[in-house]
């Protein structure tokens, strides 16, 4: 199994989620993170003093899935999360050795479906 971690723009989450559901991907976990990259943070002003907000809000989406689903999911995320502006984010793919469903103790493929 693989784990796909996508860092996306928060306002794209709804689109991405819908696209994944359409694809039959139902299980996912999200986390509010902040990112630094080409997209620059902005400069704010407080009582006459400037300060830089270096990290911009992002949403991290994690999906654990079967190996053969990776390609389709990556494509779907790219399409749904793209706004064609710097900061659209990245997708990382990692290996997962084992999955267990807590409720039933089922493992791996069974645990995912």
């Amino acid at each position: 199994m693989k784990k796909i971690t996508a860092i996306i723009k928060p306002f794209k989450l709804d689109d991405v989620k819908d696209a994944l559901l359409d694809l039959g991907i139902n299980g996912m976990t999200i986390c509010e993170v902040r990112g630094h990259g080409r997209q620059k943070g902005h400069i704010e002003l407080y009582r006459g003093a400037e300060y830089t907000v270096d990290f911009v809000p992002k949403t991290e989406l994690s999906i654990v899935l079967e190996n053969d689903q990776v390609e389709a999911v990556v494509d779907v995320i790219i399409n749904a999360a793209r706004s064609n502006k710097v900061g659209d984010g990245k997708i990382f793919v990692q290996d997962i050795e084992r999955v267990v469903r807590i409720r039933t103790g089922e493992e791996d493929t069974d645990a995912l479906n």
């Binding site: 306002f11 902005h42 400069i43 704010e44 002003l45 407080y46 300060y51 907000v53 270096d54």
Partner: protein, 400 residues
């Protein structure tokens, strides 16, 4: 005895209505998204500031023909017995005038540009509002005389259901229409999409402050301590309660409806609070509260007006109802004090509503043409806090 006691009376009234502006600010800050909280707070405060200038230099003269452009010793504040009553009376009435932009603010929030909004505020408080205010409360243009002659009684609007609230709420209609909906409020097929409030406790705080301050708004509208009326106090209470309980039931326990329902009752009772029976006030409040719940959904879903806080039904709808209902429950037949004409109430209310509707469209269209009323798409997306004020509501969180 001198008028010190009346100065005291109106100072308390003015302070309480000033506090209501804080209520407007928090009601709005709690209802908008987090990225627009600072803007809501700053806009309400600065609107109050510019309203003061507009009303001091122009509006008060338009309504009452009074100005203060003479040295202090001619302002009848020293060495006579008035104790500067006229000056605190100005302050009290200003807090009403400044409610106009504060009301509208809840409709146009989350997307209006800062300085164009200021220009609209000044136009409304210097001209449109005092025009109607003077007609009703200073008997300008012979309108009241005509009503009294024709229908037996002048238009009765004790504390401003129509003069202030219907005016503000219906001016907002034009503003919201000209401005357009927030991005994402309506889907491709026009279906409504939820844009959720950031903070119910702030909303509740705002509502409470408004409720409490409202007793200054209504009771101190008597203008002198000698004229203070316990009936006005109890009627405000009964209408507030009617409004909140009706909104509770009709709004299925939604906190936004409950807290605004109390305000709807208070809006509606302003006009007749000195003449209706407490049970009449309760009925007025119940209709206002239920009407607000229905009206809110009507404006949002049917009229497709993105009136963020629901000020069109809250102030506009309940205000109109207040003007008319004073003509019903004010009648002796309904246990009221009488001396009020149903027809005059309808005509007075309609006149105010028309001026507001026309005024709103004209002023906001004008400002839009002149300087663009709306934030750019990017500014709206980033939020007015960052775009306009270069800071968010919780700055520490942005950097840690």
């Amino acid at each position: 005895m001198n008028q010190g006691i009346d100065v005291f009376f109106l100072t308390m009234g003015a302070a309480m209505v000033l506090a209501m502006h804080a209520g407007f600010a928090f009601l709005e800050a709690g209802t908008v998204r987090k990225k627009n909280q600072v803007n809501a707070l700053v806009r309400v405060l600065t609107d109050f500031g510019f309203s003061t200038l507009a009303y001091f230099f122009i509006g008060f003269y338009v309504a009452y023909g009074i100005h203060f452009f003479m040295p202090v010793d001619q302002l009848l504040v020293l060495g006579d017995n008035s104790n500067g009553y006229e000056l605190v009376h100005f302050f009290f009435l200003l807090t009403f005038a400044a409610a106009i932009p504060a009301i509208i603010s809840g409709g146009v929030t989350e997307r209006i540009s800062f300085w164009p909004n200021v220009v609209a505020t000044v136009l409304l408080v210097a001209l449109i509002y005092p025009l109607f205010e003077g007609m009703i409360w200073n008997a300008n243009f012979g309108f009241q005389t005509w009503l009294e002659g024709s229908f037996g009684a002048a238009f009765h609007d004790f504390a401003g259901s129509v003069v202030v609230h219907a005016m503000g709420g219906l001016l907002a209609l034009g503003a919201v229409y000209v401005l357009g909906a927030r991005k994402g409020r309506y889907g491709k097929n026009g279906q409504i999409k939820a844009i959720l409030p950031s903070n119910i406790p702030y909303l509740a705080l705002g509502s409470w402050v408004l409720c409490v301050g409202w007793f200054g708004f209504n009771v101190m509208s008597a203008a002198t301590a000698e004229a203070a009326s316990g009936l006005v106090a109890i009627n405000s209470l009964m209408a507030m309660v009617g409004g909140l309980l009706a909104a509770l039931v009709f709004g299925k326990n939604d906190p936004g409806f409950v807290h605004n329902g109390a305000l709807a009752g208070l809006v509606a009772i302003c006009a007749g609070s000195d003449i209706v029976h407490p049970m009449g006030a309760l009925a007025i409040g119940i209709v206002a509260g239920a009407g607000f719940v229905i009206g809110f959904q009507f404006v949002q879903k049917k009229m497709k007006l993105d009136d963020v806080l629901g000020v069109i039904p809250l102030h506009g709808g309940a205000g109109v109802w207040g003007g008319i209902s004073a003509g019903i429950f004010g009648q002796a037949a309904f246990g009221g004090a009488g001396g009020v004409s149903f027809i005059s109430q309808c005509i007075g209310t309609a006149t105010g509503a028309l001026i507001a509707l026309a005024g709103g469209f004209i002023v906001y269209t004008l400002v839009d043409r002149m300087m663009g009323l709306r934030l750019s798409e990017e500014q709206e997306y980033d939020g007015a806090d960052i775009s306009v004020h270069h800071i968010s509501a919780y700055p520490e969180d942005d950097v840690t």
